[in-house]
Amino acid sequence: MSDPTRFRDGGGGEIERLVVDSVRHEGPSSRARRRVEAAIGLGAAISTTTATTSALGASVKTGAGVALGKWIAIAAVTAAAGAGAAAYVQGGIAGRHAAQPANSAARVQQAAPPVATVARMAPPVVTSEPVVPSAAPEASVAAPAATPPPVAAPPAPSTAPALTLGEQLQLLDQAHAAMGAGETTRALSLLDRYDREARKPALAPEVMALRVEIHARRGDRASAARLATQFLALYGDRPEAQRVRSILNATSAGTNP
């Protein structure tokens, strides 16, 4: 039995043809493609180094994930894993991990010269992107780039196994679902778990944006506004930024977002 004639080729009415044809020329942008390339380690901006750091008082193999932007940071997760790097420091996003000191940019600068370099492309670039505090996301956000948040005591290194990307996605989805069900405390708890256990947090922007939403939903406008301000400083060009901005505007206006 042969296939039917497609709508586009006259297999239906005029409306079918017009509607189907309306997306004939639609396609992804080259930027979208570059983002994916970077995310899977095929891009042109990933460099992984192995270094030692004395920050934790021990010799730790460290790769410097190159932060050329938010997606490049995600790319470092894949690249580091794919290249077999033992661990990596990811500017900004990875700094959320509880086991790591707050100022990862400074940490990278203090690291010993690279022992080995898996340089596929450009030389490493370390951004001065501010670090999002992990354990206390509602901490000071007034000048995140200039003043690192106060750290009472270095948290104990996590002994839990690192979350895979799939597990990170699952955790984020669970937190979304919990928030949707009105279980905001549980949603925050799931995000706290993400921060503790995602040693290579590929979804830090999404997690932060979700925190903003959860605080707004709880009616905690002050926390929502602080986190939203911080999010926009870090990830202002993310797709979530518009939503976060609307929450910030609503909280500033004293209305429910």
């Binding site: 409306i15 979208a32 994916v36 390339e37 990307l165 597990e167 797709p239 939503r243 977002p257």
Partner: protein, 202 residues
């Protein structure tokens, strides 16, 4: 009639498993990298368009495509040569469902309207590409997922019924009957829209 297309189908669950399973992948061999790049070259546009036709707005399709290929990069060794497109599409189906749920929750939280048009479209306005696209998205969203997927693959990706059956992993007869029903429902939805708009209803 708007039906919820996000119920769990086997192809979604298959891809969900791909997302769930822990894979601290070893370094991909050079051939793996070459294969990954070939997959990207050959199927990236297909994946992105599929995500759009499965109901994601453009920015979400960008994110979704990234998720699909990240999963593919981690599961590369498990993807049989020749079945790359099927793997990617199944994964895209799951990612699209997940993203749609997320978007719906965000709208619920923020009280944002769905990404629909700026008002009712009349038949004579269909020449406006943007309005035609909005109508297309509305009609596709009204189809159950198992019908939408075959319709997307046939009408937009121009796969044959045999190829659709292989891509989704269903018998050819099932693919053919789903396609027939999908086309009927698609045309019926457009006919209803046309009748409503001629009456001046939104």
């Amino acid at each position: 009639m708007i039906r919820n297309p996000t119920s769990g189908h086997w192809d979604e669950m298959h891809a969900a498993a791909a997302l769930r399973e822990p894979h601290e992948a070893a370094a991909p061999p050079a051939t793996g990298e070459a294969r990954l790049r070939a997959m990207l070259d050959e199927h990236f546009d297909f994946v992105w368009r599929s995500l759009r036709r499965l109901g994601l707005p453009e920015h979400a399709a960008d994110d979704g495509a990234q998720r699909v290929f990240v999963v593919a990069s981690r599961r590369l060794a498990d993807i049989e040569p020749g079945s790359e497109r099927a793997f990617l599409f199944r994964t895209a189906t799951h990612v699209a469902s997940s993203e749609r749920r997320t978007l719906a929750r965000r709208r619920e939280v923020l009280g944002e309207p769905p990404d629909s048009g700026e008002g009712a479209t009349r038949p004579d306005e269909l020449l406006d590409q943007r309005r035609a696209r909005e109508l297309l998205e509305q009609v596709l969203a009204s189809l159950p997922l198992e019908l939408r997927t075959v319709l997307v693959l046939f009408e937009f990706e121009e796969l044959s019924i045999d190829e659709i059956a292989e891509t989704i992993g269903i018998p050819r007869g099932t693919a053919a009957s789903r396609l027939r029903r999908a086309r009927e429902e698609f045309s019926a939805a457009l006919a209803r829209w046309k009748a409503r708009s001629l009456r001046g209803e939104p």
